[in-house]
Symmetry: C2
Subunit: 316 residues, 2 copies
Amino acid sequence: MLSLQDLRNAHDRIRPFIHRTPCLTCHTLDQMAGATLVFKCENFQKIGAFKARGGMNAALQLADNERKNGLATHSSGNHGQAVAFAARQLGMPAYVVMPRTAPQVKKDAVRGYGATVIECEPNIIAREAGVAAIITQTGAALIHPFDDDRVIAGQSTAAIELIEDNPTGQPFDVIMAPVGGGGLISGTALATHFLAPATRVVGAEPEGAADAILSFKSGHVEKAPYISTIADGLMAPLSERTLGYIRQYVSDIRLVNDVEIRAAQRLVWERMKIIIEPSCAVPLAVVLRYKDEFAGQTIGIILTGGNVDLGNGFTI
Amino acid sequence: MLSLQDLRNAHDRIRPFIHRTPCLTCHTLDQMAGATLVFKCENFQKIGAFKARGGMNAALQLADNERKNGLATHSSGNHGQAVAFAARQLGMPAYVVMPRTAPQVKKDAVRGYGATVIECEPNIIAREAGVAAIITQTGAALIHPFDDDRVIAGQSTAAIELIEDNPTGQPFDVIMAPVGGGGLISGTALATHFLAPATRVVGAEPEGAADAILSFKSGHVEKAPYISTIADGLMAPLSERTLGYIRQYVSDIRLVNDVEIRAAQRLVWERMKIIIEPSCAVPLAVVLRYKDEFAGQTIGIILTGGNVDLGNGFTI
């Protein structure tokens, strides 16, 4: 169980390597939501996503003998970039197992940091088998995308900064983050529990990868009924560890569908003039879908990343 | 001739109505350019473009009897929004003559501020005739997009903030802005002349609307050889007024073509995760095209706006 001191230590550890990203507001979106929204812009983070925080913290906590053969992980994209980025910062090799369906821009970015990409089938079993094989082969240290307290402590620092930099003059009623494997929402919920205990934490999940809401209700790690969503960063299931944090510190999980996610993404592009990826738009989609419930509240939203493939056939 | 005090007064006048937009930097773009780039993000400005500054300043300088019938202008888009925005702030009607080819998102935005849009053929003669007709009909006060010292003083405030907020710790070697009718580059050059006289000001112009470079060389207002560019905000020719400021305070004007403009726009989207419109990408395209000349320098770039039509058929 992570303590406040663990989160503070993680923040001190990674601070030289990451950006303190800005908190932006948007009058038009506030009017549409009938609420006061504060967006923590992790799309401006190193590697274009909050994952730089967790990857960097985990890499920095490795002992010398653990890191001597480099880093390994599996990732649909942003965590792969994070591990590749951390490895480059620390002068070591990195091996990233990625689903062959991951956006080309994310594969290119991982390679751009000097890491080796190993492609696999787009399911969790193939991903875990791929990373096990590469570890056997190279002796690299595993940095799991979310089932790791060092990673969760790193991700918590986005919420720490959001709470510290809140520009509204009012405490947050709610802080929201998307839910994939649960690393970010776990860190967010821990930071909020310690620093703003009166604030509710709500997870936002795509209907096309709705495992977390089922697991949250049942208390067991459940499978999603089906996996089909444009939110390509949110397809992983929870782990026992992240489910534990979520059951303890998250107030609720809400679902939205791809049409709502796409509409929210486009609103942010058009109105805030910033690039966010589909996974990143899920919390705003929740605020707009459940508008009556959030009306009048001050809501912090972690915008998780901006790595969009603008190549062939791109539309929004 | 505008004085430093005129620019300071404009800044004080409009400050309650506009954002002090952030200055962003991007390590990847610095590496690509071999220079230190600071981007003044007027895409985050009210109405999504710097034009809010000039429109607001001009509207605020009108006497009561001048503003009683509202405001009128012609615009390819952003200045129309600026005048519509200023009119709404001050509780008066606005009439905006727009080329029928202007992006739908810009027409919608002007209407969204409560203004009346009058469509015309996409050339300067039709635009000026249209606005003359609407003024005769309504008695509205003209706010010209650039041929007006009140507008130029308003636009100068972006450069004032850029110089004041320069995060690099080194003075700018160069400040760059795109050139359309010349309002922004005139204001930018004036502010730089008064506040950072050792800094060169360079205008960036599309090859498909290359009137300013010819006028700059000849000393007379020249026509562009042809008008065809994706930089839809930069098609207007200079006026005698803006040419005068440019000849006095701008060091150079550089051309880039649409392929270079599109590539620079996409780089900003992908690497900085912010939305900019094609006109806005012209200075970065210049830095990358004339790389040897700008290498090693500290360069301030005014990112002018982010109003892009993401509708049917959108690609980047």
